[in-house]
């Protein structure tokens, strides 16, 4: 018997089939030849002749190889059979699609890179912003049962979230029925000495339950126990992980060590975990150690705010009603101080992120627009590319691939692009988010919770899928429609009108989206300009502010000694070279801190309770304050060195105060009574109103009247052991903090300067959140503009390429190049202008979402709309110009020869 298999294998060499498949084919063909051979043997019994005749079946071996190659290497057509393995075949089909897609994308690296980068930019920006939204808004707070945590405040008729006087808090704690625990706290600065250089540390007075409420376990030691917050208890302290590391080298034996804060020795009983960031204080001490007599005064709040944990199953509303009930009882029991006072509780999470929520959601929407534009761009590129693959798809259709099968292949390719872009975007976001947050001017709440987690990964995966489908659907639908007949009719040349229409619509949509973002950014920029143009009422240039605290030992010195020290320091600062004027400042400070006083006008009966008195912001300053801050004197005089503790009490008011309480009358010489019990003060001057609350929120705050009191007239029991300092310098340049520190410490080496800032930095920090959203929106708008113009450029270039033949004929027939130019420009600008019109309509509706973030400009600001539309039209014109010029340079001869 001849060995047919050897003969067949020889002829099939070079086909490179998989070994099992080759064996199968060889076996089947060998069987055929054997059948033939046996049949021949039956007719003519000459084996050699029969062998030759049978072998003749393989004569056309080139044909066999060619045909087999075509059949065996062809991508499998869609599974038509309804066999049991349909699912498996479907899956292997998808895998095959991916491999095929990957190959076809690798063949076209330029195209693939552009698409992947575009998508990576869009998906990366979305991932980054989503990781911020996730960290700040979506993740639960890192405490047990975070939904039960609330902040507690005392409400007054005009102010919801005021501080709670300590006795009121104690009553709330005792009388409530809906809280499992509550605590109160207040920040405090301490001079830390004895552990290295004297240092100002950020501390916090707290009640014993503070960490119980939050459910925080210390990293080392214990937190406070009941009774430790009472007056006269043994002084104990908790320290932060960072202070533990900085001052004690994270030593385990830190427990029991002494910590000297403001001259008092505390025993360290615990170290907080490093992850505790709700309060960034370095030391926590029981409130009972605070020697402030006012703690026992029901009428003085002292900036204490509460934090509480609601019992399981109790709603915020029920808890609120419960505290209201307690406060009503207190108002009856202590009408002098508590009448008209209520309570206010706010879920902790809302308190932490409430302000930033709308900004972040707006930005997420904006960055979503960028991704949409990227999708449309990619869609356009895919459409243009699919035109070049018409024949490929027609062939596949002819070989039996159904419409769904072709659609699937196209979508697989766009999904592959989107997933690659998504992966790259994830890298960009992972690396870029924190880098961007460091550079951008804002301090986001919960910034430490921002990062990539499962939810962010899922988000990225989901938007990548969505992006793949969105950008691939239109081109896929188009591709799958091209049958053999259509392709043959078209001859594979020329752009189909449907495709051009789709591209035109895409470009218009891109332009519209970009316009909306640009207008949003434009409105934010106009707002920013308006804010910068607000006159703050003072001159911030070359003004420095810092805190100064005297040595802890001064606390026990006589009032006279403290006064002398403060005056001496003030004189030294004022005579420092380069310093024009310097002044201590207590109480409120513009844009920085708030302090207020209750008062009534002389000649009126004393109101029954504080809540019926008038209220004003209070600034306790020295004579040089006006010069240092550059505030104008409007009437009368400002303080002199003679306005001190021994002189007749005087006060200076601002224009708002004068107008509100004295109307047209002359305020000079009038007297007011302050609720703190000092003698009535005579008004000696009127100064300009200062924007206390920020440049962009001035009029929205109800408390505007401003009262100035002489710093040097402070009563003996209210003398501060330190104060803020405001100073103006002769020249601009880097602030000479070193020489100022030398001057201050030359008086006493234990004097501490802290939180130095220029006034312009202070202003910038109050505008940080506005600048954050403005910069991001600007960045998104610029990316959108770029993507949209690249998209327009791409489409026009493509159309010019497709029309080379036609343009050549026109030029050959004598059409002036000018006409060709306007023909191409006209086609592009038609799309762009349609987009601008569409965008204007969308912007009219969408800019309303920005309303709360705008300042001094309306959401439909006509100049912004006009300028941005003009800008976009100009950019669109430039994007069309290049391909249009190329069109005019078409050589008719070359174009006509070109097929």
């Amino acid at each position: 018997m001849p060995d047919w298999e050897v003969e067949i294998r020889q002829r099939m060499a070079g086909l490179e089939l998989s070994p099992p498949r080759e064996a199968e084919i060889v076996e089947e063909l060998a069987q055929h030849l054997e059948d033939r051979y046996e049949e021949l043997l039956a007719q003519k019994p000459a084996p050699a002749a029969a062998f030759q005749l049978a072998l003749a079946e393989l004569n056309e071996s080139e044909l066999l190889v060619r045909e087999l190659r075509r059949v065996e290497r062809r991508v499998a057509p869609e599974p038509i059979g309804l066999d049991a393995n349909r699912r498996t075949r479907m899956l292997s089909g998808v895998w095959q699609d991916f491999r095929y897609g990957g190959r076809s994308l690798r063949k076209n690296p330029g195209f693939s890179i552009v698409v992947v980068l575009t998508l990576a930019l869009g998906i990366g920006a979305n991932t980054a912003l989503f990781s911020v939204v996730n960290g700040v808004l979506l993740k639960p707070l890192p405490y047990p049962e975070p939904d039960q945590l609330v902040t507690m405040h005392q409400s007054k008729p005009n102010f919801d979230t005021g501080a709670i006087p300590y006795p009121n808090f104690r009553d709330l704690q005792k009388e409530n029925r809906t809280f499992s625990a509550m605590a109160i706290s207040r920040s405090a600065g301490f001079s830390l000495i004895g552990t290295g250089e004297a240092e100002r540390v950020n501390g916090r007075w707290i009640t014993a339950d503070f960490f119980t409420v939050l459910g925080i376990q210390p990293a080392l030691g214990r937190t406070f126990v009941a009774g430790e917050d009472e007056r006269g208890a043994v002084p104990v302290a908790l320290i932060s992980a960072s202070l533990w590391q900085r001052k004690f080298g994270s030593a385990q034996d830190v427990l029991g060590k002494a910590l000297t804060l403001d001259d008092k020795n505390y025993t360290i009983v615990g170290v907080l975990p490093a992850g505790f960031t709700l309060f960034t204080n370095d030391v926590f001490v029981p409130i009972g150690q605070w020697g402030n007599q006012a703690l026992q005064n029901r009428g003085v709040a002292l900036g204490l705010h509460g934090i509480g944990r609601i019992k399981p199953g109790i709603t915020v509303k029920q808890a609120q009603a419960d505290l209201d009930r307690v406060m009503q009882n207190l108002a009856v029991a202590y009408p002098d101080t508590n009448r008209n006072n209520g309570s206010k509780i706010v879920p902790l999470e809302e308190r932490l992120v409430g302000d930033i929520r709308s900004t972040l959601l707006m930005l997420l929407g904006a960055v979503g627009f960028v991704l949409l534009i990227a999708c449309v761009n990619v869609s356009n590129l895919l459409l243009a590319r699919s035109a070049g693959r018409t024949r490929e798809f027609a062939l596949r259709a002819a070989l039996g691939a159904g419409r769904w099968r072709l659609l699937r292949q196209s979508l697989t390719e766009s999904l592959l692009l989107a997933l690659t872009g998504g992966g790259l975007g994830l890298l960009i976001a992972g690396w870029g988010t924190h880098a961007a947050l460091r550079v951008l001017p804002t301090t986001l709440p919960r910034a430490e919770d921002i990062g990539l987690d499962a939810r962010v990964l899922f988000f990225t995966f989901a938007i990548s899928l969505l992006t793949g489908i969105l950008s691939g659907l239109a081109p896929a639908l188009k591709s799958s429609q091209w049958g053999l007949a259509e392709t043959l009719k078209e001859g594979g040349r020329g752009a189909s009108s449907g495709r051009v229409r789709a591209q035109g619509i895409f470009v218009a949509v891109e332009m519209a989206l970009a316009l909306v973002l640009l207008i949003g950014a434009g409105l934010m920029i106009r707002s920013m300009a308006a804010v910068w143009n607000v006159d703050p009422g003072f001159r911030p240039d070359n003004v420095l502010t810092f805190g100064l605290s005297l040595p802890p030992s001064m606390r026990t010195s006589s009032p006279a000694a403290i006064r002398t020290t403060l005056r001496e320091l003030s004189d030294r600062l004022n005579s420092t070279p380069g310093v024009r004027a310097a002044s201590f400042s207590e109480g409120a400070a513009p844009l920085q801190s708030e302090d207020d006083v209750f008062f009534w006008l002389d000649g009126q009966p004393k109101p029954a309770s504080q809540s019926e008195m008038h209220m004003a912001l209070v600034y306790e300053v020295e004579p040089r304050y006006l010069t240092a801050m550059g505030i104008a004197l409007k009437q009368g005089r400002f303080f002199t060195n003679q306005d001190d503790e021994r002189s007749v009490p005087v006060a200076v008011i601002d224009e708002v105060f004068a107008h509100k309480y004295f109307g047209a009358e002359d305020p000079l010489g009038k007297r007011i009574h302050l609720a703190d019990g000092r003698d009535p003060s005579q008004i000696v001057g009127v100064v300009r109103h200062v924007e206390q609350w920020g440049l962009d929120s001035g009029s929205s705050e109800s408390l505007q009247a401003q009262l100035y009191l002489p710093f040097r007239a402070s009563a003996d029991d209210r003398l501060p052991a330190g104060a803020g300092v405001v100073m103006s310098l002769d020249e601009s340049g880097p602030p000479p903090f070193d020489s100022i520190r030398q001057v201050v410490q030359s008086q006493n080496s234990q004097n501490v300067i802290f939180r130095p800032q220029t006034m312009n930095e202070v202003i910038a920090s109050t505008l940080a959140s506005r600048r954050f959203s403005m910069i991001l929106l600007e960045a998104f708008a610029v990316v959108a503009l770029l993507l949209a113009s690249v998209g327009l450029y791409g489409v026009i270039s493509y159309l010019v390429g497709q029309r080379t033949h036609e343009l050549g004929i026109r030029l050959a027939l004598g059409a002036p190049r000018r006409n060709v130019l306007s023909l191409v420009l006209g086609q592009g600008m038609k799309m762009a202008l349609a987009g601008v019109a569409l965008g204007l309509i969308a912007a009219l509706g969408l800019t309303r979402l920005l309303a709360t973030m705008l300042f001094g400009v309306s959401t439909t600001d006509a100049p912004t709309f006009a300028v941005i539309s003009l800008l976009l039209t100009t950019v669109a014109l430039l994007a069309c110009l290049l391909p249009a010029l190329r069109a005019t340079r078409v050589d008719p001869l070359v174009a006509l020869r070109y097929e």
Partner: protein, 119 residues
Amino acid sequence: MATLHMEMTMLDREVKRGSTEMLILALVEDRPRHGYEIAKLIEQRSEGVLQFHVASLYPLLYRLEKRGLIKGRWVEKAGQRRRRFYKLTAAGQKILAQQRQTWKDFFFALDRVAGINPV
């Protein structure tokens, strides 16, 4: 007019791509057959006019199989080498019916135009 044009295009395509597909589908319609049997039957029934060799038959069978019109299966009978038998699938059935109709139309048209009676 458009319909007629389309039908003619289809006919043209079918003629060009050959009638061989239909021959094979028709032969495996009643029962499964192996390659050699198919080749033999075509030769016998066409009285030698149509002949298939290995090089032309098997690629065609594989292609039909890939398109899901026929399905091959190895069958082993006692004392013989195993053979691959092809049977018609449901999809093949549909295509065969279509092709029969197409050819019928074609011969009808030929007869009407050129007076050729295939029988």
